[in-house]
């Protein structure tokens, strides 16, 4: 039943089932828990082929995925916040081992203080781990991204995080089209480079001396940068097959104006409405890693003023990660670039608040950072 009123987590879980991972590791953490719960119910009803491993921690969740993926099968898990942080060591290992594992990250604030609500500090803090990071703006996009993620991962031999906002997306019921069938779009995963099989012994996960180590890290970086093309191609193929696309696959530009707001995630739904009112442009970043430098430079050419709105903070530096990266990408441009850090720990980013942000455009200095609660 393609079009249905369904919770974001359940919609994503349905898409995960269609992607047929052979091994699914699961560990509960709010707000990602509804995804594994839905998958577990499918398994209980005989509707899911893959093996579920109910691990004793997120560290073991990703470890089990790495083990499974290394035998040459599709492996999947979902997590949030503390769970992703617990995986930190393994995130770098997964990318370094070039294993195409997919994680749904249901974004949530990091402790302390403990907070279960949405922001992007968890995944943004893992931006240099070598994972591709896609951020959904809607539940429909989270569903579409999930299947795209498996194909991108397997074509690039890089792991992919599909990030969706905790509660705003994960727990929200709305109309989503979950395809019944994706067969043609996602071929079976048949790795040649890396699998554990007694008939063809391979050593996986060695240590390396400085020279080979650095060579491998450079290769990983190049693969991550190059994945831009694959992400776009997979997005375009999907758009063709399912009639749904999002900008160029890396960024999505809506509206026009000499002032642009650059943002990421579901808050863009509100921003889009306000930008329209105020005659501004919205540049929504779908793919934060690889960083879509060229696309952003192109989209923001000739702007007078750019406001970055984001839900993470580079503590001790001020501003969010995206703001700093964008400023460095736009070095030499005449645009004034400022940043609003918003929504940390789930603070509501309301239309009224966003109107004030938009109205502040002229008063913002270049490089200025403001916090929502200031």
């Amino acid at each position: 039943m393609p079009n249905q009123i369904i919770e974001g987590s359940q919609a994503v879980a349905k898409m995960v089932r269609l992607c047929k991972p052979k091994v699914l590791a699961m560990y509960p953490i709010t707000p990602s828990t509804h995804i594994p719960e839905t998958l577990a119910q499918m398994k209980a009803n005989g509707e899911l082929d893959g093996t579920i491993i109910r691990v004793e921690s997120e560290f073991s969740a990703l470890s089990a995925c790495i083990g499974a993926s290394s035998t040459g099968v599709r492996a999947y898990t979902a997590t949030s916040s503390q769970g992703l942080a617990l995986m930190h060591e393994l995130l770098f290992a997964t990318a370094g081992m070039r294993l195409p594992i997919v994680i749904n990250v249901v974004n949530r604030a990091l402790s302390a203080p403990l907070n279960i609500f949405n922001d992007h500090q968890d995944s943004m803090s893992e931006r240099d781990s070598g994972w591709i990071q896609l951020y959904a703006g809607t539940n429909q996009e989270a569903v579409d991204m999930t299947v795209q993620a498996f194909r991108i991962a397997e074509e690039c031999l890089l792991p992919v995080m599909v990030c969706m906002d905790g509660f705003y997306l994960s727990h929200t019921y709305e109309v989503v089209d979950v395809p019944d069938d994706i067969k043609g779009f996602l071929p079976d995963y048949q790795p040649e480079h890396c699998y554990l099989d007694p008939n063809k012994p391979m050593t996986i996960g060695t240590w390396a001396m400085p020279e080979p180590y650095m060579k491998l890290r450079k290769e990983l970086n190049d693969a991550a940068e190059k994945s831009v093309g694959t992400i776009q191609k997979v997005h375009d193929d999907y758009a063709k097959a399912f009639g749904r696309g999002y900008g160029d696959g890396l960024i999505e530009v809506t509206g026009e104006g000499s002032t642009a707001i650059v943002s990421i995630g579901s808050v863009c739904q509100n921003i889009e409405a306000v930008a329209k009112e105020k005659g501004m442009q919205l540049v929504r970043v779908r793919c934060f890693r690889p960083f879509p430098r060229q696309q952003l430079i192109g989209a923001l050419k000739g702007k007078k003023s750019i406001i970055v709105i984001e839900k993470n903070a580079a503590l001790g530096l001020g501003g969010g990660a995206m703001f700093h990266e964008l400023r460095s990408a736009l070095k030499g441009s005449d645009a004034k670039i400022a940043c609003y850090v918003v929504g940390l720990g789930g603070v509501d980013v309301t239309l009224d608040y966003l109107r004030k942000v938009a109205d502040s455009a002229d008063s913002l200095g270049d490089g200025e950072v403001r916090w929502q609660n200031e």
């Binding site: 491993i53 470890s63 083990g67 290394s70 035998t71 099968v73 554990l196 007694p198 050593t203 060695t206």
Partner: protein, 292 residues
């Protein structure tokens, strides 16, 4: 020459751990996937782009060998492939930092042989104390000094902890008794589900011993009752190497630099502790008590 592990690895002369690992895997044969924790065995066998392994082998991090093995075991089963999956690591990798992963994998019941190559300290990082380090042993983080006589606590009884997961088979072994070790591996392989073998593997630099003494020390540990050889099969204890009279502890302890500072009362305490443990195992065996 072994068709499991090629020569040219960089383990120390007289390394007990690599003997233990090789013999375990030779007993299993080539239809195996090895999931290795970080530690000496990983470092000495796989410097990119070389490898000493002739069987499929994976290493990810220090604390997750048994969790990686969980994924490997389930993924192989999904594909209808049959192979023995081994999770293997040192005392640090299995008894301390990787204990949660080991416990989780045992509780879930995956068909995995978990092997602890126990050299009684974090050797790869330069001889630091672990929960497997015996009481009074001097390590770089539990050094003997003018006030403290080395490590202050008794060794963790990991085998009983593992057996308490109600697994079908758990056993100690020693590289001093290779036939016993091989027999235990074969027996473990007959069982579906989680199995644990804890092998005593003397460490030349870590213990401060002569390379030629590795095997005789591993024997002496058994003869003194400090390292009893026993198995727990479906919860029942059986001592696999009985000693009429335990040899005096100093036969094992003297000649090891890590115990060089011991005073007679320390040696006596170690002897008493070993004797009590041995007698406890003996009475468990004779009582036929179903422990777990």
């Amino acid at each position: 020459m072994s068709d499991i592990l090629a020569p040219g690895h960089t383990a120390c002369a007289g390394c007990g751990e690599i003997i233990g690992e090789r013999v375990v895997l030779e007993a299993i044969g080539k239809n195996v996937v090895v999931c290795q924790a970080t530690g000496c065995m990983e470092i000495t066998t796989t410097s990119f782009p070389t490898t000493a392994w002739k069987v499929p082998w994976i290493h990810v991090t220090f604390e997750n060998a048994s969790a990686v093995a969980s994924g490997v075991a389930e993924a192989l089963a999904q594909q209808g492939k049959k192979a023995t999956v081994v999770a293997i690591g040192g005392d640090g990798g299995m008894m301390d930092i990787g204990f949660q992963a080991l416990s989780g994998a045992m509780e879930r019941g995956h068909n995995i042989l978990h092997v602890i190559t126990d050299n009684e300290a974090y050797m790869n990082t330069g001889i630091q104390r672990s929960s497997g380090t015996p009481k009074y042993a001097s390590t770089t983080t539990s050094p003997a000094g003018s006030v403290l006589p080395g490590k202050g606590e008794w060794k963790k009884d990991i085998l009983m902890v593992c057996a308490a997961h109600h697994i079908p088979y758990a056993a100690t072994a020693s590289v001093g008794y290779l036939d016993d070790l091989k027999a235990k591996v074969k027996k473990a392989m007959e069982y579906e589900g989680p199995k644990v073998i804890q092998v005593l593997t003397p460490c030349v630099p870590g213990w401060g011993t002569d390379p030629s003494k590795t095997v005789s020390l591993a024997k002496s540990a058994v003869e003194t009752g400090i390292w009893p050889l026993y198995e727990i099969e479906h919860g029942k204890v059986k001592i696999t190497h009985k000693t009429k009279e335990l040899r005096p502890p100093e036969e094992y302890l003297t000649g090891q630099k890590r115990f060089k500072h011991l005073k007679p009362e320390h040696i006596a305490a170690i002897g008493e502790h070993a004797k009590a443990n041995y007698e406890r195992l003996l009475s468990l065996e004779t009582s036929s008590l179903q422990l777990f």
